[in-house]
């Protein structure tokens, strides 16, 4: 081996050594990084709406029987499979809806607006395809219901049921069906739909309470309700007829109110007139009596003169007011009979 070959061999070995050194260095760094990742990768934050629990080797961990980690905290857990962190959104409301009792709507079916009503009316109600409820009076209605629940006990919520939301959904359907079977169609759809909803809520509340799933019911909503598509027109007719009935009754009540007011007014007028009459008649009588008493004093003193004076004053007063006066000569009994002819409204007759 000459010098040139030796030199090139040493250079190759050094390069290999350097490459290996670099690889081992990188490996060392990787192990250290993995170590830090292992240590710090287990940290987690429990959000404001959550509570968390740690299962260590599958078992609930916690000090002094306190297994829940409250919200807003940074925590640390060993990586899986040692620890498993379960976060439960316990402070958030969960809405569970069911369309079990709603008719099937074909979103792919394109129907002209004018044909839509007929198409809906003619579509049959196939069991298992279109959902509905049967009311106490053996009628059919469609409804969409939803319930709002909240997790009251996160541990029970996680441990008791594999799919708690599905259970609540089925309980909701059961509560709706059970209550509807005791309600008439008109009551459920129109007249007492809020009471109907409250009855379902009460039933569901009882079911959830006895289920022990760590859930509490907040509200139940009857989001949509309708009679069957084929009977909608008939139902609307009933609503219109009912409204018409109420309108007629309210019109009659308005008439009665007006009539009574008129009668009250007339009554007041009659009584008022009677009181005026009473007042007038008594006042006149009193005045006349007083007048008579005074005249009588004069009459007793000088009867004839008093009478003549009164008579003449009266005639003068009366004749002064009269517009047309005719004074005719009164013949004596032995004179010939005289005739006078009067036309009471001569001007009018002339115009005509």
């Amino acid at each position: 081996m000459n010098n040139t070959e030796k030199h090139s061999s040493n250079t190759g070995g050094k390069a290999l050594l350097n490459a290996l050194s670099f690889t081992f260095f990188a490996l060392r760094m990787l192990i250290i990084s993995l170590f830090f990742l292992f240590i710090f990768g287990g940290s987690f934050f429990v959000r404001e709406y959550e509570q968390a629990m740690i299962l260590r080797f599958g078992q609930l961990s916690g000090k002094k029987g306190k297994h829940l980690i409250e919200s807003g905290k940074w925590c640390w857990a060993w990586p899986y499979p040692i620890d498993k962190v379960v976060k439960i959104p316990s402070k958030r409301s969960i809405k569970i809806s069911t369309e079990q009792f709603w008719f099937k709507e074909d979103s792919n079916q394109i129907i002209a607006p004018e044909d839509k009503g007929a198409a809906l009316r003619d579509s049959p109600l196939v069991p298992g395809v279109g959902g509905y409820l049967v009311t106490a009076d053996a009628n059919i209605i469609h409804a969409q219901w939803s319930a709002v629940i909240q997790i009251s006990d996160p541990i029970k919520y996680y441990l008791e049921a594999a799919k708690p939301k599905l259970i609540i959904k089925k309980h909701l359907e059961n509560a709706v069906l059970t209550i509807t079977s005791g309600w008439d169609v008109d009551e459920a759809l129109y007249k007492n739909s809020n009471d109907y909803r409250l009855a379902v809520e009460k039933k569901l509340f009882k079911k959830i309470s006895t289920s022990n799933l760590g859930l509490s019911l907040k509200n139940v909503y009857l989001t949509l309700k309708t009679p069957p598509k084929s009977a909608i027109t008939a139902f609307r007719k009933v609503i219109e007829a009912e409204q018409q009935m109420h309108r007629k009754i309210s019109e009659a009540e308005a008439y009665a109110y007006r009539k009574m007011n008129e009668a009250d007014g007339e009554k007041a007028q009659i009584l008022s007139e009677a009181r005026i009459y009473k007042k007038r008649i008594t006042s006149n009588a009193q005045a006349e009596a007083e007048y008579f008493s005074k005249i009588e004093e004069e009459y007793d003193k000088n009867p004839e003169t008093t009478l003549i004076a009164l008579y003449n004053d009266t005639i003068a007063e009366v004749m002064d007011k009269v517009e047309q006066k005719f004074i005719i000569y009164a013949p004596s009994s032995d004179e010939q009979y005289q005739e006078i002819r009067l036309q009471i409204t001569p001007k009018k007759n002339k115009k005509e």
Binding site: F24, L27, I32, G58, Q59, Q100, P124, L125, G128, T135, A136, D137, A138, I140, Y158, E160, A161, A162, K170, E173, N174, L177, S181, G182, P227, A231, A241, Q244, H246, R247, E251, A252, Y255, A256, K259, A263, E266, K267, A268, I270, E273, A274, Y277, K278, K279, I281, T282, A285, A289, I295, E296, L310, V318, K321, V322, E323, Q324, F326, I327, A330
Partner: protein, 319 residues
């Protein structure tokens, strides 16, 4: 430091890594975890580990447990929580009630493993378990529904409604069978669909329409009747009010007349004078501006217009 020791020092991370991996491997081979949500049984060469002679299988509590590595021992786990499924999902079938009405009823239930050994032996699969429980439920449902009338399932008289009783009876029958056959416990059960066959549903629609038409007509008739009744009542009451008012008015007027008559008593002292004064008063009241009055010269004071009036003066003078 020798070269050997130096190399060992340089490669310690790799060695530590290897040891850790080996330890983890051995650890996973000889241990198993049981979660809080699970139940587990261990079989040794395929045979479940029995706790006592009665054959009750040992149930491992949640946590870490030791075992012999596979294939000596094998761990079977099952979710120990309640599962929910709908019995008639996609399988709608008609059931006949006691009064011969065909209806469609769907039942849902919640179930869990109560006997892990039996469950492990008979089904050991959630899907298969659900199918088997569904069969149990179907049989129980058919036998129970046949004992009740349709009016026990839908009725506005709540004392007649027996849905909860039906559910309890189905639960009672299916609970014991599911436990005995598959080692499962049915925790709860309920009806979540009650319907009619397609043909019946269509006839229900027709009936509903006729009922609605009848109801609409009855509302209209009721509206007319009530409106007429209200109006007639109002008319009568108004008349009554007026009649009463008129009666009362007559009383008031009579009272006035009576009081006036008392005042007129003074006229008795000079009845002729009173009559004369009344006549004068009547004259004043009855004759107005538009009156056309024809009087002759016999009427005073127009008798002055006659020739005899002078004679009166003379007579007076003679007197």
């Amino acid at each position: 430091m020798s070269d050997h020791n130096k190399k060992a020092t340089i490669h310690w991370p790799a060695m530590v890594m290897g040891v850790i991996v080996a330890l983890i491997f051995i650890f996973t081979l000889i241990t198993f975890q049981v979660s809080e949500t699970e139940c587990a049984i261990v079989t040794t060469f395929g045979k479940p580990k029995a706790l006592d002679k009665s054959g009750e299988v040992f149930q491992y509590k949640p946590g870490l447990h030791l075992r012999w590595p596979y294939p000596i021992q094998r761990v079977w786990r099952h979710d120990n929580r309640v599962f929910c499924f709908e019995g008639a999902e996609g399988k709608w079938e008609e059931v006949q009630t006691k009064d011969g009405k065909n209806i469609i009823i769907s039942i849902y239930c919640g179930w869990k493993v109560s006997n892990p050994k039996r469950y492990f032996e008979r089904v050991n699969n959630i899907k298969i378990a659900a199918e088997e429980i569904n069969s149990v439920l179907r049989d129980a449902k058919n036998s129970v529904i046949g004992k009740y009338k349709l009016s026990n399932l839908i009725n506005s008289n709540h004392s007649q409604l027996k849905i909860e009783e039906v559910e309890k009876n189905i639960l009672k029958i299916s609970q014991s069978r599911a436990k005995e056959l598959y080692g499962t416990e049915i925790v709860f059960l309920g009806i979540n669909h009650l319907g009619f066959p397609e043909t019946v549903a269509n006839s229900v629609f027709e009936r509903m329409k006729k009922e609605r038409d009848r109801l609409a007509e009855s509302y209209l008739a009721e509206g007319d009747a009530k409106a007429t009744e209200i109006k007639a009542k109002a008319d009568a009451e108004a008349k009554m009010v007026i009649v009463e008012a008129e009666a009362k008015a007559r009383g008031i007027m009579a009272e006035g007349d009576m009081q006036a008559a008392k005042s007129y008593a003074v006229f008795n002292s000079e009845p002729q004078l009173a009559a004369f004064l009344r006549k004068l008063e009547s004259l004043k009241r009855t004759i107005s501006e538009k009156t056309t009055l024809i009087v002759d010269t016999n009427t005073a004071p127009y008798d002055l217009l006659s020739a005899d009036s002078i004679n009166i003066e003379k007579k007076q003078n003679k007197k």
